[in-house]
Symmetry: C2
Subunit: 290 residues, 2 copies
Amino acid sequence: MDIKSYLKKQAELINSHIERLIPSGTPEKLFDAMAYSLKAGGKRIRPVLILESAKAVGKEDVEEIMDIAVASEFIHTYSLIHDDLPAMDDDDLRRGKPTCHKVYGEAIAILAGDGLQSYAFELISKNNRLPSDKLLKVIYLLAHGTGIYGMVGGQAADILHEKENSFDDIHFIHTHKTAKFIQSCCQIGAVLAGASQEEEKALKNYGLYIGLAFQIQDDILDEIGDEEKLGKKTKKDREKNKLTYPAVYGLENSKKMAQEYVEKAVNEIKILRSPEILIQIAQYIINREV
Amino acid sequence: MDIKSYLKKQAELINSHIERLIPSGTPEKLFDAMAYSLKAGGKRIRPVLILESAKAVGKEDVEEIMDIAVASEFIHTYSLIHDDLPAMDDDDLRRGKPTCHKVYGEAIAILAGDGLQSYAFELISKNNRLPSDKLLKVIYLLAHGTGIYGMVGGQAADILHEKENSFDDIHFIHTHKTAKFIQSCCQIGAVLAGASQEEEKALKNYGLYIGLAFQIQDDILDEIGDEEKLGKKTKKDREKNKLTYPAVYGLENSKKMAQEYVEKAVNEIKILRSPEILIQIAQYIINREV
């Protein structure tokens, strides 16, 4: 099976567990809004990276860490709902469908995002199959990678950026907005698999590098991608005067830089027991069309 | 010392620990926005309840649980920032000062709220003085009490309420929007103090009852409170057609119901080793003017 088909199959597996773990309750509209955004599809790359990182250091039974993987997608989904808000990126479409606030209104979209964040931590903290110290470290990595020193900080920098200082800014934004969360996912997989310090460090570095490559490829796809395949308008970043790699370094240099990050990532994980899938994921990240 | 002065002193203690724990970093504006809202004052009743609940079941050294207490205030502050947003309650003033989005803009206010939530969990999960199993339960209680089955659910219900079904709705809203978070704080104090199951249950029930009394008193103060003392406009709830106890049951009945909840709360904790302060807090809740 080629990596594209493999990732599709893994995404379907994640989707079935998301379905299992979607919370229900009152008020219905809040829960509907969360379910709507959770079911909107996507590559599920963060949960897949948690599972594949764990496998790469020898974990065979990933069933027991499935809830943790899903929790990472709950956090990712919350961030998408909030990013799409009128006060933020003001997007009407996400994966070819109306964004959460277009369907449920702004107030419920804000609360659905807030609720998905807290529910991710609720889901991890109520897990009774994994030891407390591992769960606590998972919570730390997730909160740190997606919070003020990670994703939230990067998103704020993205909104506030000053064009003048582009080279530093673009690296800060991409590292924080995207790479740190992906890094946390790879490290979470390592922790859950009981990896050695050396293995954990390799996966941590791998995560950072593929995270950067991933965001550069996102920028490139926004420039030259296929709107139909992507399920959203392209050239939005340019319209919004966003700081992107193609805008700062040009398209060809950006491709080269993404390639270099992938090589660095692959280099890091050669010491692992079974790095094959992760190597292919790294390469796929810059070859993908969606 | 009377309870009002005691609570003021405790709030000052909490404030000094908030100062110690306010995060700093880049982008500055995001961190400024969080600090601005954290420093805006307030009763700090949630952290105080964590500390006092722990003391009531015999915990003497509350220094080591101070970071957990502060984390609860980070969550409370995030909820205030988001509640004040134009798409939500649309408030310009909070505790006599311009609200976060009025000073920093909506996008940064949304992110400051998101970031305060994740940083609360980061703060708890990186604690290295308390055992992992206790920290994990604290995270569960906090996430559960403030998430979709607690505060976020209640806030959504408040926004979506249908006037027709007032009696059920008002109880649902107050229980979820306010009481469940306060309940979690009392239970967190119990867990951190190593309370017995019976003691934990007593504090859990106490928390629910004083939480309801607290919200009813908030509704009453919105009707008849002193704008200057409160640092905000009164009669806002009525203007916004909000479901409140005075609106549904009338002012006198509301006062009576708050009194009844306080009596129930006091009754629950009589079995504790040192319930005196918690009893006085319960009574203060319905006598307070701010």
